[in-house]
Symmetry: C2
Subunit: 233 residues, 2 copies
């Protein structure tokens, strides 16, 4: 005799997923109601609900009240990108991380930054440039702008030893951000910093960050030639 284990929401989720993959329920098909599935699987409706809710979050199925649950026609594919600090990226590769502050200036925000970060003209900004290295090789160049008004302590923070990204992560831990990824050509300065030929194709990440509706920082990271950002989904 089999031990009649209790059905878990994971069992339900996986079985429903299997039927979708095996086209038992093809794309666009209507699934049984939660109550029916609960009866079939011999579990509570709440268990089925949680299973289906997870699949809906993944974009596998679409749910609407009254209409019921359908297999998604165009499953939304989402890749989750972990936004990590340079230190973590470097150490993940079993390399030694090193950081160096290149420049630090208190200045009025330039126009392009004001529109980028949604700041009033002439806002006081802390501008820094920094380099991050992996095993002594250039990893990425950081162009960092911090809104002093949002993080006053940054004015007196020690960025000689602590990278701005890590400092901010501790100072403003829970923020919203907008990221952009693009390719750019190395200008003379980047070529120098990243030890590559001028004109080389470089991968860039730009990030604007807000905390409680207030713009905090803008950063542009330019990676060494050949850098590749990866993800699974």
């Amino acid at each position: 005799m089999q031990a009649a284990k209790k059905i878990s929401f994971q069992d339900v989720r996986d079985e429903v997923m299997r039927r979708i993959e095996d086209r038992v329920w093809p794309q666009g098909a209507l699934l049984p109601t939660e109550a029916d599935l609960a009866e079939e699987f011999g579990c509570a409706r709440a268990t089925v609900n949680r299973a289906l809710r997870e699949l809906a979050e993944r974009g596998i199925i679409d749910r609407k009240r009254k209409s019921g649950t359908r297999v998604a026609l165009q499953p939304v594919k989402q890749a989750k990108l972990e936004i990590a600090t340079a230190r973590r990226l470097v150490e993940e590769r079993n390399a030694t991380y090193r950081y160096a502050l290149v420049s630090r200036n208190l200045q009025a925000a330039p126009g392009w930054l004001c529109s980028q970060m949604d700041l009033p003209q002439g806002t006081e900004i802390l501008h820094m440039e920094a380099m991050h290295y992996a095993d002594g090789q250039p990893f990425h160049f950081e162009d960092r702008w911090i809104n002093i008004a949002a993080v006053p302590e940054s004015k007196s923070a020690d960025f000689e030893t602590t990278p701005p990204g890590e400092w901010l992560l501790a100072a403003v831990p829970f923020s919203n951000a907008e990221v952009g990824f693009l390719a750019t050509s190395a200008d003379a300065a980047l070529a120098d910093y990243l030890n590559c030929a001028p004109g080389a194709a470089l991968f860039q990440m730009e990030r604007s960050t807000w905390f409680q509706e207030q713009p905090v920082t803008f950063a542009r990271m330019t990676f060494h030639p050949g850098y590749r950002m990866r993800s699974r989904y």
Copy 2:
């Protein structure tokens, strides 16, 4: 008198989030147990559980049995990237989408592809090149490889009018994938296709896809100069 509305898990989630943002519970702090929070909020423990589970999924808090729930020290920042078809990307910009198949060949998989997709040497592969346009301007160039063994119907599919990406999305709707993003320099062929100077910096996305453990397709998309991929988190 206020209408004493029932507390929802969203109320609990938002209030807990507020206390974390306002440093009522600073980073690393131990939160009250689910039972205590349930009593405080006047709701069932299951309601608190769902609220905290969501925050844990977002990486805001860390939960461990017996130890309890703590505010995350290093909140994991995750960006969700929607992987959309070229058609959708183009139409989102209110531009007119056009597709053109450039070449189509049945051939043995080259060595680099076999290692990339984890295929046996000499596997039969359908190789295609295609262009995608937005308002008549080059949007991206697609280099596509399909494992015939995994999707036999692809051999006779009409890729003159249907982009391989869309065809595959319908044929193999629920798959796993690995994506990589990088920058590359335009060679003569890409410069021609994308109407840019040779050597221009271009954004590339590479994707390998599996369905039920079997390699299905590899695609390399090279975008027009100036393309930027965006996301929020």
